[in-house]
């Protein structure tokens, strides 16, 4: 039986847990306590919460100010607004100013599938990887979300974490939560020698299942969970290039500027093997739920498996 859990619930429960132990943690919200699952946090720790209203620019600025005076702000808001409306504040107030602000973009990617392009976040990896001093992390399931939050809470680094909304399959063993995430390191979920599928965020599960289906067809596909988009695990990428000769990237992001572009850059500069980038096309998407869109754009298990097969046939 596949266990389904929402990363959104995992992160909100974890923040409450770590904030109870550290009174300097302050959650900052832009009228998003409902959409970010913070009701219980606000009830339990009202003194460790700042509401800014629907004002994402002010939200990031306030968080930077809280950091300057020695507090540890966690900004929680829908990723689509947070990483577009307040992009300049993330750049200047947080990253450039070296402030310890954790930015949690909730319901990212196409979590809000049917709400339209205004609510899609398909640019965040591209935009945020360009800011020095800012880490970018996309956990792949609820267990890794917990591990990521616990890990970043120990650092003073500005960090962006994108979290999905819906319940998604659990990939990692809840009993071995700590093993699910190492800062800046990819996890090898499946060993393989014919091709490597490198995925991030909620496409990781679909990639792993695709690898299982490929194995039935005689293709040995390695699967890497590249949770940390910055700093990128170049070593794992180049090892995959050397050992499997072909790489397929999968992500819930525009095909421009995301994981695919990052991996292609590393491979192109060091060991140019063929790379196929799977992601969302450079167009405003059709209407549908996240899963319907995954299927439509070939990011579901069948779509990934099929495209990997075609890619290998091109040899």
């Amino acid at each position: 039986m596949v266990d389904y859990r929402a990363c959104r619930e995992a992160y909100s429960t974890t923040i409450l847990q770590i904030a109870k132990e550290d009174p300097s943690i302050i959650v900052v919200s832009s009228d998003a306590r409902g959409s970010c699952g913070l009701s219980s946090y606000v009830e339990t720790l009202p003194e460790q919460f700042v509401e800014v209203g629907i004002a994402e620019q002010n939200e990031i600025g306030i968080a930077a100010g809280l950091s300057v005076v020695g507090l540890k702000p966690y900004v929680c808001a829908p990723a689509c607004f947070l990483t577009a409306r307040s992009l300049e504040q993330i750049k200047v107030d947080v990253a450039y100013s070296h402030q310890n602000v954790k930015i949690l973009g909730v319901s990212g990617g196409i979590s809000y599938g049917a709400l339209g392009a205004s609510h899609h976040t398909l640019h965040d990896i591209a935009a945020l990887r360009c800011f020095p001093n800012l880490d970018v992390i996309l956990p792949s399931d609820a267990i890794q979300t917990i591990a990521v939050l616990k890990e970043v809470s120990k650092t003073k680094r500005a960090t962006y974490i994108r979290i999905g909304r819906e319940k998604v399959p659990v990939i990692y063993d809840p009993e071995k939560e700590r093993d699910s995430y190492t800062y800046g390191k990819a996890n090898t979920l499946v060993e393989g020698s014919d091709v490597t599928i490198i995925a991030c965020g909620e496409t990781v599960y679909h990639s792993r299942e695709a690898a299982r289906r490929l194995l039935e067809k005689g293709v040995s596909a390695r699967v890497l969970d590249m949770a940390t988009l910055k700093p990128l695990d170049n070593e794992a990428i180049l090892k995959a290039a050397a050992e499997t000769g072909r790489i397929v990237t999968v992500e819930e992001h525009s095909i421009y500027g995301g994981l695919g572009a990052a991996v292609s850059q590393v491979v192109g500069a060091n060991n140019p093997v063929p790379v196929l980038n799977l992601g969302l096309p450079d167009e405003y998407l059709v209407t549908g739920t996240g899963l319907e869109l995954y299927k439509h754009y070939g990011l579901d298990v069948q779509g990934i498996a099929q495209r990997v097969l075609s890619f290998l046939e091109d040899k």
Binding site: G53, A64, G65, Q89, V92
Partner: protein, 277 residues
Amino acid sequence: MDIKSLKIQAFETRKAILQMIYTARAGHTGGSLSAADLMTALFFKILQLDPRNPKWEGRDYFVLSKGHCVEAYWAVLAHRGFFPKDELATFSQFESRLIGHPNNEVPGVEVNTGALGHGLSISVGMAIGLKKRKMTNRVFTLLGDGELGEGSVWEGAMAGGHYELDNLIAIIDRNHLQISGSTEDVMTLEPLAEKWKSFGWSVKEIDGNSMEEIVNVLTSVPFERDKPSLIIAHTIKGKGVDEMENLAKWHHGVPDSELFERAMNRLETMKQGVLNG
């Protein structure tokens, strides 16, 4: 520092601003000069600070929201002892830390600014955080009037009123000019005081180039309990150099050698006048 000494220091601040801009052949001249008296009063009289220990827990916090007027900031920080005055000669030079906008790798600078409309929100965050930490430090921020076109300023203004931040003092350098001309021609700001009052701030207006009025108003904050304080400081863009005063073209104009020498000599003469007066 008494008023006379502050006035004398303000001449030194202006001379340092002109010297930096003349040497670098770049800078934001008009706004740095309009803010020179405010910046001098803040760093030599008002702010609780320790130049030998810039991160001192008890310090008042300052944010230069109009970050382009950094020459005034570098001048007062150097003259107050945060770093050697000689370093001012490196302003905008290759690999200098004295960048053309505030850089918090320099002692005395809390955050990097330069993109307009950010400083008030950051200051609001500091003020909320200090209250949460039950600390009595104050937060001062200096905004430009042209900067008030940024919507984020009003988000910050709303939050300042909402959270009743009487530990927050915002000052507007109201020189009435921005790069394209009169603020009222570019985008009407008036009635400015009424706008801020309606956002929950306690507002006072002063002559922002009068040291007496600056010190008087800044030593009477907060104006009201449970309200953030706003000072509309009416100033003259380019103040102190006749040829630059009230002219938008000096927003980032660089003087030639003749004007530079004349202006420096005149400032020195005026300073001597105050010294002997």
